[in-house]
Symmetry: C2
Subunit: 348 residues, 2 copies
């Protein structure tokens, strides 16, 4: 890394140039575009140096080669995460995570192997003290804005205490990143009344009821979309299934419209006419607009993107990392979790 001791406080973001189905092309182009939009941070690209330089040249990008960090190996999409990070210490994911661990960088962004990114973030960067399980959230557009859903896939078979941690971290994220003043929190359940959840949800309900968070009780699947609640917590198994189901909805709609168009010429004409309008309306459902998802609870900024990330998605991931840095998100989570842990110790 270049010596820039004069700019110690400037945010440093590392992007995995080899991460994603269309890497290094999309990762490099997207990262450099983010850098060009806001030069208020240092961008590092980690990966095979020669490949990265080829992409830069091919796309006529301007990027200082001193900010490329060579990493010879790539953790492929199908590889077993924990084995891969052990066996490939010079892979872009491991090298990137280490830079954050060693405080040489503030954020690491990758659209590569999701499991490997999670393992590297949790095992290499490490958890914030007091966090039992880091979490990945989803920002789901709804009638009033956004619903922040935790967890959507960092862990399955979560314990009730993990759902409380998700609520603490989700509250900070919704407040700082979403501008929600006093985020309301709900436990995802089969009904609104107390006791309507499964065992884990019911115990989490009790923990949240006794916390200082703005807990509104149980919420149902529909409430994610109706805007009744800002932050929803659930086991990662439920959240992940829900998220993937939701992501398939726009595709289903497209199909239903096409089927309708086939049946009737007038409908077909109307659909052609309205296509761009529909696209605009559905824009907020498009994950590319949101960029990747941060892994909250690790001791640094870690943003994980879809394998199919476009350059635009990568750009948004980098800008999100920058905003998380500006908002001191990691520090605020650490503080809030520690306050809760102290409270717990006090009462014991």
């Amino acid at each position: 890394m270049p010596d820039n001791s004069t700019e110690q406080t400037k945010c440093k973001i590392v992007v995995d140039a080899m991460g994603g189905d269309f890497a290094p092309q999309n990762a490099v182009v997207g990262a450099v575009q983010a850098f060009n939009q806001s030069r208020d941070f240092e961008l590092y690209l980690v990966g095979k140096k020669s490949d990265i330089i080829s992409v830069i040249k091919k796309n006529n990008l301007s990027f200082d080669e001193r900010f490329i960090i060579n990493a010879e190996h790539i953790i492929e999409m199908g590889e077993s995460p924990t084995t891969a990070i052990k066996l490939k210490p010079d892979s872009s994911i491991v090298v990137g995570a280490k830079l954050v661990k060693e405080k040489k960088a503030d954020a690491f962004v990758s659209a590569g192997n999701t499991g490997a990114m999670m393992s590297a973030s949790t095992l290499i960067i490490g958890r914030i003290p007091g966090v039992g399980r880091p979490t990945i959230g989803a920002e789901i557009p709804n009638v009033y804005g956004t619903c922040y859903l935790y967890d959507v896939g960092a862990g399955k078979d979560a314990k009730p205490i993990h759902l409380l941690e998700y609520a603490i971290m989700g509250t900070i994220y919704a407040k700082e990143m979403g501008g929600v003043s006093n985020p309301s929190i709900g436990v995802l359940s089969m009904g609104e009344e107390e006791g309507k959840g499964n065992e884990v949800a019911n115990e989490a309900y009790n923990l949240l009821k006794n916390s200082k968070l703005n807990f509104i009780g149980n919420v149902e699947g529909r409430d994610i979309l109706t805007g009744k609640v800002d932050v929803v917590v659930c086991d990662g198994f439920v959240g992940n299934i829900l998220l993937k189901f939701g992501e398939a909805v726009p595709k289903l709609l497209k199909h239903l419209l096409e089927q309708t168009a086939k049946k009737n010429l007038i409908d077909a004409l109307k659909i052609v006419l309205v296509k761009s309008t529909l696209k605009k309306a559905l824009k907020s459902l498009d994950y590319q607009e949101h960029g990747g998802v941060p892994l909250l609870g690790v001791n640094g900024i870690s943003i994980i993107g879809h394998g199919s990330s476009t350059p635009k998605a990568i750009t948004n991931m980098v800008l999100k990392a920058k905003l998380m840095y500006d908002k001191k998100l990691v520090h605020k989570i650490e503080k809030s979790i520690s306050e809760y842990s102290n409270k717990k110790t006090d009462s014991e």
Copy 2:
């Protein structure tokens, strides 16, 4: 009930006239409309006789009063199911379930208190021998037709063996009611590979792998909509949350379109123009089109509807009950479950 010993084999369907937010109006009108569409069954209305007669008169319906079975009480929407069915033996739900239990009727249809309908069906009508837990399924429209999702709310904290039972029952339902020739089955999970589920899903995977069912392995949330699989099994907690989330999607879309319309006059005009087309396309997402959901695994036909059921939804529920009768669904489930139980005993 009228003496019609000459017609012992004719299907007898009992409709809870007092069930639903708009009862007895919607229940009575919907049931009589179903009867007028196909007179090939006997329709019984259970509830407060005087109220039922008022609705019949008010709507100028023609219905033989001898087919009204008086039940003085109503289990209200908010009541605790098990307590209510104990304390109100002369409620429409208990009376209706008893008629099926006593083989005086083949099917019971209600849009009343869902929990009470489930309890009455399970405790009064009783389970088919070998069924550990009855299940409610959802028919979710997708790119290729329909995905049958079990369980969506009959029970939470299901055991792996219950998911196998759901698969057996769901296979018969998809085949007989949906015309799917050899329904494929998937376990809802966080990834396609073996071991990607939570504990219950992973154990269910093993049970299904060793069954004679057309098991294709784990499926993800998106596969419910992509049409990759015909029958998906999961714990009722997950299924219920997913179903309610899905039901809120059309509302969200409506909202997104309205927001888009507000921003731009041309978009607004296009949306007005295309409204009926969109409505047609979204028709298959409308639960009213599907009617209520059957509780599979009980020893008779039990169909449970939304509290907000329209007359059309009630009509469809009654016609569904009739089709289940014609297809001998209860008998076929009994046979299939017993074959599996025997196999299990053989191998022990």
